[in-house]
């Protein structure tokens, strides 16, 4: 076997904090071989990004790093910043998450590429420019010789990420580290960028570390997978083994809580109960034990090491009960029991007989394009929402999917404003256009919204009680407010003893539940959900999705649900509309659209979703020849 190009041994990273020393990474070992891709998966705070940053020597000075990182036999830890600069961008290339901030806005991309080339190699300006053109061509930027003079703001996010990749591979690195390279991008762009990374890897023969939280991305790109939890690898093996025969309860849970875009979901998802531990003063025991449904007393006696399994070679697991786990089951039983959903109050009522709760007819929203400093002239119109018509019945979830900038959020805000400039919004049979101000205020009881970002949707200075009481007080509530608050807390699965705490004491998923309780306070018939789970980790997300499903069944709510994640949409929604440039290109029952898409855009969108199953991903990829990828083969 060839020698590893990058070898990490017992890497540990500590950060100082007010609460004490935070152990962000606690013993990571891996060997990376040329041409292989190692996928590092884990939820936020599992230490995957810190691992990559410490390999690159990009951590701040106050971080305490121990262990060993050997690149082509040379120890990297302890090198000075200057010595590291010779390796960064030369031996090891890095692709960052946010393409918007990875490029300098004041230089054109040609100069930035030339700088990257000349920093490590003694070549002339002319030669460097020629290489830059070839690199841009390689990553699929059309007319590269013309685009060299373009500035980053003249490129879209996906194009910018291509430029970032071009810079990362400019000096034929031996190792390519991609840290969440597609998290900030739309799903169709994501598929293209993953292809470009694969191509770049093939051209340079580099070993790749793919860091992601998305099981689908791992399944599509990685050869080997390392699952991290609480700063430690808990399972490692090749991608097929990890997905088909996971031997660590955390991996099993992670896979169970990931919604599948390729199968219709009748079963609820299985969330992992609890939150990851705080990495301060950790006890010597399995860190997953408090969340593990099959934990035994022995699990609390010491941290189980990552040991190779006897029966499958190259597969390691840090679980005491690993030998008992087979086919995601332990002793023949499912490890994570799917939760029981409430009975659907609207079950058996056909759609035609259900009352219409929200009806939107020919909704339009236009923004004027103006020019001129003193006198603004109207030079054009942006049609953000261009004639939408749909209706939602009681107990039904209608999803609008589309990529960023297609007008989904504008649609939601227009509906929430209840004051459409063009078109009609009819809420429970009442046209919003004809409402007086007091009627509109009263109508707000019937329609409420849950926002995407759990950080900014709750005022950090109010206690949970005050947050939930706000709509009750302002829109009027006849009964006992305290009793209602307690009821709502129970409804969203939170404990009433936490009412006097502030939002900052809660995790993202809990905050989203509080936001849901606030939205449900006035007993609305329509709930507008603006990407309610996209900011959450997979295992937490599953719990919130189940809660939404449960509430819909129990209370007969109607959802207007906006998302870019098609797997979540497939799991939750009954009807689906695909939006593109302000218009619906296709709409219908969810399963029908997924299984038999009509519009080209829908097909493209569906084809781009990464499937969290390496076999299915390969089956789908194989008939897709290279010419389907955006890069023209030379």
């Amino acid at each position: 076997m060839t020698s590893p190009v990058l070898s990490v041994k017992d890497l540990r990273v500590n950060f100082p904090s007010e609460a004490g020393s935070v152990s962000a990474v606690r013993g990571v070992d891996f060997d990376l071989y040329p041409g292989r891709t190692l996928g590092i998966v884990g939820e936020s705070g599992s230490g995957k990004s810190v691992t990559s940053m410490s390999i690159m020597g990009l951590l701040p000075d106050y971080a305490k790093i121990t262990g060993s990182v050997k690149f082509e036999g040379r120890e990297l830890l302890g090198l000075s910043d200057k010595q590291m600069s010779e390796i960064r961008g030369n031996g090891i290339g890095m692709i960052f998450q946010d393409p918007l901030s990875a490029l300098t806005p004041v230089f054109d991309i040609g100069s930035q590429l030339v700088e990257a080339i000349q920093a490590h190699r003694d070549v002339g300006k002319k030669q460097a420019l020629k290489e830059a053109t070839e690199l841009l061509d390689l990553v699929g930027i059309p007319d590269p010789h013309l685009r060299l003079k373009s500035f980053p703001h003249e490129f879209s996010g996906g194009m910018r990420q291509r430029v970032v990749i071009a810079i990362a591979i400019a000096n034929n690195p031996r190792v390519l580290i991609a840290d969440e390279p597609t998290t900030a991008l739309d799903v169709t762009i994501q598929a293209q960028i993953l292809d470009v990374i694969k191509l770049a890897q093939r051209e340079t023969g580099a070993a790749t570390i793919m860091i992601t939280h998305d099981m689908g991305v791992v399944a599509e790109t990685a050869d080997d997978v390392m699952v991290m939890y609480a700063g430690r690898p808990v399972e490692r093996g090749d991608v097929d083994t990890i997905f088909s025969q996971p031997r660590m309860p955390y991996t099993v849970g992670l896979l169970g809580s990931t919604p599948r875009p390729d199968v219709s979901a009748e079963e609820p998802l299985t969330p992992i109960v609890g939150s990851p531990p705080v990495l301060v003063d950790l006890k010597q025991r399995c860190q997953f034990a408090p969340r593990c449904p099959v934990a035994q007393p022995a699990c609390s006696d010491g941290e189980p090491p990552l040991i190779p399994l006897d029966d499958t070679s190259g597969h390691e697991s840090a679980c005491l009960r690993a030998p008992e786990i087979r086919d995601r089951k332990i002793g023949g039983d499912l490890m994570f029991k799917p939760p029981q959903l409430a009975d659907d109050v609207m079950a058996g009522v056909p759609r035609d007989e259900r009352p219409t709760t929200l009806e939107v007819r020919d909704l339009r929203k236009e923004f004027p394009l103006t020019k001129g400093a003193l006198v603004k002239r109207r030079v054009g119109t942006v049609k953000a929402v261009d004639g939408l018509t749909f209706d939602i019945r009681k107990g039904e979830c209608m999803a609008i999917v589309g990529e960023s900038g297609c007008g989904k959020t504008t649609t939601l805000l227009e509906v929430m404003d209840l004051k459409p400039e063009h078109g009609a919004v009819v809420l429970n049979g009442k046209d919003a256009a004809g409402m007086s101000n007091s009627e509109r205020r009263a109508a707000r009881k019937d329609i409420q919204i849950v926002f995407q970002d759990p950080m900014s949707s709750l005022n950090p200075r109010l206690t949970v009680r005050e947050v939930i009481a706000e709509p009750l007080n302002s829109l009027g509530f006849d009964g006992d407010v305290d009793a209602r608050i307690n009821e709502l807390m129970g409804l969203v699965g939170l404990d009433s003893s936490q009412l006097d705490r502030f939002p900052s004491h809660f995790s993202g998923g809990q905050r989203q539940r509080i936001g849901l309780a606030r939205a449900l306070a006035t007993n609305p018939s329509v709930l507008v959900l603006d990407e309610p789970v996209s900011a959450l980790d997979v295992s937490i997300q599953a719990g919130v999705i189940n809660l939404l499903e449960d509430l819909k069944r129990r209370l007969g709510l109607s959802y207007l649900f906006v998302a870019h994640d098609l797997s979540v949409v497939r799991h939750l929604s009954d009807r689906l509309a695909v939006m593109y440039k302000g218009k619906f290109v296709e709409s219908g029952p969810t399963d029908e659209v997924f299984e038999n898409p009509q519009a080209d855009y829908t097909k493209k969108l569906l084809d781009a979703i990464p499937i969290p199953d390496p076999e299915a991903a390969r089956r789908r990829r194989d008939p897709r020849p290279a010419n389907a990828s955006p890069i023209s083969q030379k």
């Binding site: 950060f15 100082p16 904090s17 007010e18 609460a19 004490g20 935070v22 962000a24 936020s44 705070g45 951590l59 701040p60 106050y62 305490k64 998450q97 840290d179 998290t183 900030a184 939280h213 969330p271 109960v273 609890g274 939150s275 531990p277 705080v278 301060v280 408090p290 969340r291 449904p293 939760p339 205020r441 707000r444 409420q448 919204i449 926002f451 970002d453 759990p454 900014s456 949707s457 005022n459 200075r461 109010l462 706000e470 302002s474 829109l475 699965g493 404990d495 936490q498 900052s504 004491h505 809660f506 995790s507 993202g508 809990q510 606030r518 900011a535 980790d537 719990g543 189940n546 809660l547």
Partner: protein
């Protein structure tokens, strides 16, 4: 701080404030009580409350602590120092004209025989009263005007900003001097004038901060919950720029003491027989050669006051700013 680049799907939690209560799903294998029990099995760091954290960070700054001690001492002196004075500040001792400090007159006397200790205590109190009242009032006005302009937007915002920019561009100090020149040294009028011409700059700063709060989802949610704009300002906008307001208040006090003493020094603010630190300084500079104590005692008091406030302001800014260097070391 962990350099988390996962920002898009994970906003960093304030460190040390993470709960031991766990995510609880409906219908999961645990009841909420059981899940809680499981989650609290280990001794998770419960986290420090925000105010305790601020206090700890504030007192870690030595200069700020010293500033606070000095300020408390000065305030006590202004409140209770008068009880120890043997003379009233208006009562001249004709047997001791321009006397240096002595057991009878601790800080000495001036050329009309006024006891400088009594005058300094009174002047300190007068200056502090003016400073605190003016600073509080400008703070309230600017907070309301600034956040209202941000929240209402449109024409209202443009009009308010136009007024603010107009007022900012005129030389206010001169204007104040003109208005108070005829007042005969009434300190209450001085307060009013300082407030009227002192709120614009802060309002401009608060407006730009309120703009970022306006974009938060909870402000939007409040609108959709039928909460009135005024209530939104009081409940959602102002509390979230609170730390800035506290700092503005402290530095506002320093600034007001400065303008008040400057005006009084020029003979335009507080006038005899009433005294403020500025009036005393004016008298002191005239006699700095013959009776230097008349200058040094008020000057030292003024310096102590402004320096202590500046230290406190710096300390507060560091304590409230999560990105400052006053975090702990591992």
């Amino acid at each position: 701080m962990t350099p988390s680049k996962d920002r898009n799907y994970f906003k960093q939690e304030p460190r040390g404030e993470i709960t031991a209560h766990s995510e609880v799903a409906t219908g999961d294998p645990f009841s909420p009580a059981e899940a809680e029990q499981v989650a609290t099995l280990e001794q998770m760091p419960r986290g420090t409350s925000r105010y305790k954290l601020y206090l700890r960070r504030f007192f870690r700054n030595k200069l700020a602590t010293i500033g606070l001690i000095i300020l408390v001492f000065l305030m006590l002196a202004a409140l209770f120092g008068g009880f120890f004075a043997k003379w009233d500040y208006t009562e001249p001792d004709f047997l001791a004209l321009s006397e240096p400090p002595s057991p009878e007159h601790w800080f000495g006397t001036n050329d009309t025989g006024n006891d400088l200790y009594a005058q300094t205590i009174h002047g300190l109190g007068r200056s502090l009263t003016i400073a605190i009242v003016v600073s509080l009032a400008t703070l309230v006005i600017s907070a309301f005007v600034g956040s209202a302009a941000a929240l209402w937007g449109g024409v209202a915002e443009k009009a308010v900003l136009a007024v603010i920019h107009f007022l900012l561009s005129i030389p206010t100090f001169l204007l104040i001097a003109l208005v108070v020149a005829d007042s005969g040294g009434d300190w209450k009028l001085l307060i009013v004038v300082l407030i009227v011409f002192g709120w614009m700059y802060q309002a401009r700063v608060i407006w730009s901060l309120a703009l970022t709060v306006r974009e938060q989802d909870y402000v939007r949610a409040a609108g959709y919950m039928g909460v009135s704009k005024l209530r939104t300002i009081v409940r959602h906008v102002i509390p979230n720029i609170g730390s800035l307001l506290i700092i503005q208040f402290v530095f506002g006090v320093v600034g007001t003491v400065g303008s008040e003493t400057a005006l009084s020094f020029l003979g335009l603010g507080v006038k005899l027989p009433d005294v403020s630190l500025g009036t005393l300084l004016q008298g002191g500079t005239a006699a700095v050669q013959s009776s230097p104590w008349l200058f040094y005692f008020p000057a030292a008091t003024l310096t102590l006051l402004t320096v202590s406030m500046a230290f406190i302001g710096d300390g507060l800014r560091d304590a409230l700013d999560p990105n400052s260097n006053s975090g702990g070391k591992a």
